[in-house]
């Protein structure tokens, strides 16, 4: 029976655990509840993915109301793939949080912190699972609102977390509202909110001005959440000042979920054949993606705070996503999805490693990394592997991403873009080089009694690092999965009930 309802349960179990955490008297109980929920979601997402691959689209009707009238959770290979990403990073971060969170959050706040974590988590899962555009907005807001709070929770150690959260709130809300405006136009045009149904109904309307306006609003709205290059302003501060676990969770998942929403809108709801969309892809996403890769990487070079450096690197990476999308072929889409998964793994592991450093040294400036190569060998070697992966050294997942992105660019015949992709990843060499050099080749400050981070933090960190290596050496799994997901995205009408077909 659980199997049958898994599509909803794995979103709603964390949602139920959120209020339960409020009742927990001791923080550790809240932690247990939260961790159990994430682990359940992780197992569930694997089962769902297998189900979606084997049996096709899973459609779950909330309250028994059939779509397009009722809300539908609609899982195909694409979103169950994203579910795996989200729940994997979520589970790892929760396990990691057992020692890290008490260090950064007051114990009286901890149950509420876990509540927010659960809300954020289930919001992300909901965005990914739902097949209803308005429901997507609601889950997007659940996840965004809770992440504003989570970012602000970093105020315990640095008051700048508050302003960071405030900016995030302003821009995030504007983004969400843009999304709703766009949705309004689409609703006026089609009279439906079910995404698959919208796709069927707008098929012949490519000349409609309303459609164009709605499309533009939706793309800008999601772009704000995704931190597409000129809309990224909230991201560096939010990532820098949030608690370590939150940063790792957000870096690994929030932009991925927004990217998923973008892909869903681009490929399922609006079909990529629409001429205006091709226009946007080529003349907007391509230059923006390239600019993001270079500008953000160059800014990252000059950061003295490692978390901020990684945040800028995330913006650069979202440029890669855009590039992959702008290729508008199955290769590019596969590359984007592969990179989405790989980036989630490596960026989370990097942020977790930085979290270990913060745990021991209380700071994450490049200077505080001096000499850590000897003092925290496990943490720093994980950091090095993550960095190498970002650079794209073979046998790491980053290499696999680069490979497929370049391949897709070559398939399109876009030479300069292929070179720009590798050149951009090269910039990562320089900004990671600085940190790694400080860690290994500079003496640690005198009388520093830094020791290795506790095992409970190293274990999840290394779980990610090892998967970073393992999936880099054998990418069969990720790539075939991503390809299946890409195909699912490009086949919007698959598995629709007869009354909703084109």
């Amino acid at each position: 029976m659980i199997r049958q309802h898994l599509a909803i349960l794995q979103v709603m179990l964390p949602m139920l655990c959120a209020p339960l955490c409020v009742f927990a008297r001791r923080p550790v109980i809240a932690w247990l509840i939260a961790t159990a929920a994430t682990l359940f979601a992780l197992a569930g997402s694997f089962i769902l993915f297998a189900q979606a691959l084997n049996a096709g689209v899973i459609s779950y009707h909330l309250g028994g109301w059939a779509p397009p009238w009722g809300i539908e959770f609609r899982l195909d290979a694409a979103n169950s793939f994203v579910l795996i990403i989200v729940s994997l990073v979520g589970a790892v971060c929760m396990i990691y949080g057992r020692d890290s969170i008490p260090r950064e959050i007051k114990s009286s706040d901890q149950p509420l912190f876990y509540t927010m974590m659960m809300l954020c988590f289930s919001g992300m899962l909901g965005v990914t699972s739902t097949g209803d555009a308005f429901n997507l907005f609601v889950f997007l807001e659940i996840f965004s609102l809770s992440s504003y709070v989570l970012v602000a929770m970093g105020a315990g150690s640095d008051r700048r977390a508050l302003t960071a959260a405030f900016t995030y709130l302003l821009l995030g809300t504007i983004g969400a509202t843009f999304f709703v405006i766009g949705l309004g136009f689409i609703y006026v045009l089609t009279g439906t909110l079910n995404m698959a149904d919208i796709a069927v109904r707008i098929a012949g309307m490519s000349g409609s001005g309303t459609l164009h306006v709605g499309f533009a609003f939706i793309i800008v709205g999601i772009g704000l959440k995704l931190a597409i290059f000129p809309l990224h302003l909230w991201l560096p501060n939010a990532y820098t000042h949030a608690p370590s676990v939150v940063t790792a969770l957000l870096a690994g998942t929030s932009t991925k979920v927004a990217l998923y929403a973008l892909l869903r809108m681009l490929y399922t709801v609006f079909s990529p054949d629409l001429p205006f969309e091709a226009l946007i892809l080529h003349y907007l996403f391509l230059p923006l993606g390239l600019t993001a890769v270079f500008v953000a990487s160059i800014i990252a070079l000059f950061q003295s705070d490692v978390k901020r450096l990684l945040a800028w690197s995330s913006i650069a990476q979202s440029g890669y996503f855009l590039l992959g999308v702008s290729f508008a072929n199955i290769g590019g889409l596969t590359a984007t999805l592969v990179h989405m998964f790989n980036h989630a793994i490596m960026k989370s592991s990097l942020f977790l490693a930085v979290g270990c450093v913060v745990y021991r040294t209380g700071s994450c400036s490049v200077a505080s990394f001096r000499g850590l190569g000897q003092k925290m060998p496990w943490t720093m070697s994980a950091f090095v592997i993550g960095g190498l992966s970002m650079i794209g050294v073979p046998a790491t997942v980053g290499f696999v991403s680069k490979w497929y992105l370049v391949l897709a660019a070559l398939e399109r015949g876009w030479w300069p873009v292929a070179f720009a992709i590798v050149a951009g990843s090269l910039l990562a060499l320089f900004y990671f080089g600085r940190v790694i050099e400080a860690a290994y080749l500079q003496p640690s400050p005198e009388n520093s009694a830094v020791t290795e981070a506790p095992v409970s933090m190293l274990a999840p960190l290394w779980a990610l690092t090892i998967s970073c290596l393992a999936l880099g050496i054998n990418s069969e799994l990720t790539v075939s999965t991503a390809r299946a997901a890409a195909e699912a995205l490009l086949a919007p009408h698959a598995g629709l009930p007869a009354h909703m077909g084109p």
Partner: protein
């Protein structure tokens, strides 16, 4: 010409929304006071709510309560959606205000430029300490 005029007047609800929307965005971007920013944000959101609700109105329609006396109902779905969106908006405002209160405590001001100046001073202090 006349046609264009009537069609724009006919969509006056859109014009009203657009006016509110742009005012809201303008306030968010131009005001340095955080509370005013929140007010602008609210204005912006409310304009969207109004847009939705006015779209759901059917001329001559009434509330969709099944009494058997009326034939034409306004479309209730936008109202339902906006009810949800309003809740989201309230939550956003609450969190925003809570943040402003905390900022006031932490910085002693809610003017953006003063906060930035304080942050900058602190960063310079940190840089010198290293």
């Amino acid at each position: 010409m006349v046609n264009a005029f009537t069609s724009s007047i006919g969509h006056f609800n859109y014009w009203a929304s657009v006016l509110l929307m742009t005012s809201g965005i303008y306030i968010v971007l131009s005001r340095g006071n955080l509370i005013k920013k929140i007010i602008g944000l609210n204005l912006f959101q409310v304009s969207v709510f109004m847009l939705f609700i006015s779209m759901g109105k059917v001329t001559g329609g009434t509330a969709p309560i099944l009494t058997g006396r009326h034939e034409i109902f306004s479309n209730p779905l936008p109202h339902v959606l906006i009810l949800t969106a309003i809740v989201v908006g309230v939550a956003t405002t609450a969190i925003g205000l809570a943040l402003v209160v905390r900022i006031k405590y932490a910085y002693g001001t809610i003017e953006e430029d003063e906060i930035l100046a304080l942050d900058l001073a602190r960063e310079q202090m940190d840089a010198r300490a290293q």
